[in-house]
């Protein structure tokens, strides 16, 4: 037997469907199987009742590269181990496939692209479980997928940030800086303003937990190469510096990353910056274990009885 694990008799990893969600039959011959597309909020809840998963909220305006950032991580696993990790499981495997398709030669496209996420799709999630190459320790990630228009609205109506479920549950909040807009002198100031406004709305709404890690992630860094990109790089460096200064005292961790998930011209290394980004998501602090537990004041007889029993 060449199985890598030594604890074969250990718990079998299963996803038990909650009561009331039994699979319906189709006639006598066929049985319906659970969806393998994007996870709804209910699906994500069911997953979290089954096992611990770290939620990553990817936040930014449309066309910033949010979906591409995630699907290109999946695409790396399709090619082999990535970021010292092995692919283990995904409840949204066909969701990854659908969103990756336009980057594949099979699509017939000569330039890779990613389908737009519609506002009507609401909030959904990718599920990606990976194991460390050395210890096979598994970590589950839930990666948020929401149309950029919603985050644009938060800029205009900051109170709406409080309703962003993915943000309030996230262990990692990723604020996307669109490298393409940054590279364009005419759109640079607005690109910076966008991420500044969205981050501010979210932080000041109190939606994000202090135990979270917040990240400033620049996408499409392939467009920030060469001397002509110097003004953009300078502006980005200043934005990163201010981001760190503004939030380092408010969150468990504050980091900045520069990525090029998929350079269409193929000049920059594939998935540039994604390995370290993925590793940071896997190492995100668990808010549940951060800080001492608050012990309620024990006042009545039942409380005292409980205390005596515990002693």
């Amino acid at each position: 037997m060449s199985d890598a694990r030594t604890d074969d008799e250990a718990d079998v990893d299963v996803f038990e469907r909650p009561a009331g969600q039994e699979t319906p039959d189709i006639g006598d011959r066929w049985v319906t199987l659970p969806s393998a597309g994007m996870l709804s909020i209910e699906d994500a809840d069911a997953l979290l009742r089954w096992r611990d998963a770290s939620l990553v909220a990817v936040v930014g305006e449309r066309k910033g590269g949010k979906t591409t950032l995630i699907t290109e991580m999946y695409e790396q696993f399709v090619r082999g181990p990535f970021a010292n990790c092995l692919f283990s499981h995904s409840l949204s495997l066909l969701g990854f496939e659908r969103k990756s398709f336009q980057s594949r030669a099979e699509s017939g496209a000569s330039v890779p692209d990613t389908p737009r996420t519609s506002k009507q799709d609401g909030l959904s999630f990718f599920h990606l479980a990976v194991c460390g190459e050395d210890d096979l320790r598994r970590t589950d990630l839930l990666l948020s997928e929401r149309a950029g228009e919603v985050y644009r609205e938060v800029r205009d109506l900051p109170a709406g940030a409080a309703a962003l479920t993915e943000v309030s549950k996230a262990r990692t909040i990723v604020f996307i800086v669109d490298g393409e807009r940054l590279a364009d002198g005419k759109r640079r100031a607005e690109a910076i303003s966008s991420v500044r406004n969205i981050a501010r709305a979210i932080v000041e709404s109190g939606a994000a937990v202090n135990a979270a890690e917040v990240q400033l992630v620049t996408t499409k860094s392939d467009l920030l190469q060469g001397s002509t990109a110097d003004p953009a790089i300078e502006a980005l460096a200043l934005l990163e510096e201010r981001f760190l200064t503004n939030y380092e005292s408010r969150f468990a961790s504050v980091t900045t990353h520069r990525t090029a998930a998929r350079d269409p011209k193929g000049e920059m290394e594939a998935a540039y910056g994604l390995a370290s980004l993925l590793r940071s998501w896997l190492a995100a602090p668990d808010p549940a274990v951060v800080g001492p537990a608050v012990v309620p004041n024990l006042v009545d007889e039942f409380d005292r009885l409980l205390k005596r029993k515990a002693a």
Partner: protein
């Protein structure tokens, strides 16, 4: 003892050819090395004899889709341990496994079989195509003159179908500059084989299937096509189907697995010279199997491994 095996595999993955060669092997008793022998010659043997006849005559073995789903049963005895076993192999049309991906439904019979299985035989064709090559990778492989030819064809402005009314994305702009052709619409049938296989196995980890530890023998069929690669079957899996390899490495608690390379047909039936040469061999010696214990003709090795209790 009874041993109910479940066969899983996409269309044309070599399931029926394996059964045909296996039946010939155990029934003919030609090969002394063969560990499992036929214990009793009884029951309905029409299907087994039909596919084995085609196999012996160097003809294409009829696909399950042509004859319908068939349950095959063989009464076998282990020459080493003396243990007798009734081995059952439900031979399902590969299209039913495609339906599991494309339509998210499975045959009730498959569900029932998996509940009672004593081991899974997963068939994977070594003749895999389209495992997720990216547009960027393809473009790098193309000679420069073909890329420029591509750039002269088509009219991207009409075909990209962008619904946005503001600035186009880099992809759209680059596509427009290069004259890119439009996209094909995604549909589940375009999911690459290795992802389909991972989905088939992943389905067994959740309802309505009964999640538990299973023994899984991965059979890489048409192994003769890989000979130039000098890879072991497990190495081949890591190189050609890395997602499947990673899935198996990280799900050992659910799938205790072993990987075999099998050439059950033994020869390309379109290669007349090779067929002529193969006729000089004992029929059982057309079979090639490569596993953890080396190379041989004993096609029963994966069954012996599946039946082993550790």
């Amino acid at each position: 003892m009874d041993a109910d095996f479940v066969i899983v595999g996409l269309p044309s993955s070599g399931k029926t050819t394996f059964l045909a060669a296996l039946w010939h092997l155990v029934e003919s008793e030609e090969d002394e090395e063969c560990r499992l022998k036929l214990e009793a010659y009884e029951g309905d043997l029409v299907y087994l004899n039909q596919i084995a006849e085609a196999w012996r005559n160097f003809e294409e073995v009829p696909r399950t889709s042509q004859v319908g789903d068939v349950d095959v049963t063989m009464r076998l005895v282990d020459q080493v341990t003396g243990v007798k076993a009734t081995a059952s192999f439900p031979d399902l049309d590969g299209e039913t496994f495609n339906a599991q991906i494309d339509d998210r439904r499975c045959r009730r019979k498959f569900l029932d079989d998996v509940v009672a299985d004593d081991g899974l035989l997963l068939f994977v064709s070594s003749n895999v195509k389209g495992n997720g090559l990216s547009v960027v990778e393809l473009n790098k492989m193309l000679p420069a003159d073909i890329e420029s030819e591509q750039a002269q064809d088509g009219n991207a402005d009409d075909q990209l179908g962008s619904t946005d009314d503001d600035e186009p994305s880099v992809a759209e702009k680059t596509a427009a500059e290069s004259g890119a052709t439009g996209y094909a619409e995604w549909e589940p049938k375009l999911v690459p084989p290795q992802v389909r296989i991972v989905q088939l196995l992943s389905d067994l980890l959740r309802g309505p299937f009964e999640p538990r530890q299973r023994r899984l023998a991965v059979i890489i069929s048409a192994w003769d096509l890989t000979r130039g690669m000098t890879l072991s079957p497990r190495e081949w899996l890591a190189v050609q189907m890395p997602l499947v390899d990673q899935f198996l490495r990280t799900n050992g608690a659910s799938f205790v697995n072993e990987v075999y390379g099998v050439s059950a047909q033994g020869v390309d039936l379109n290669d007349h010279a090779a067929v002529d040469q193969a006729t000089t061999l004992q029929a059982s010696h057309r079979i090639l199997i490569v596993g953890p214990e080396g190379e041989g003709h004993d096609l029963t090795a994966p069954l012996v491994w599946l039946m082993a209790r550790e």
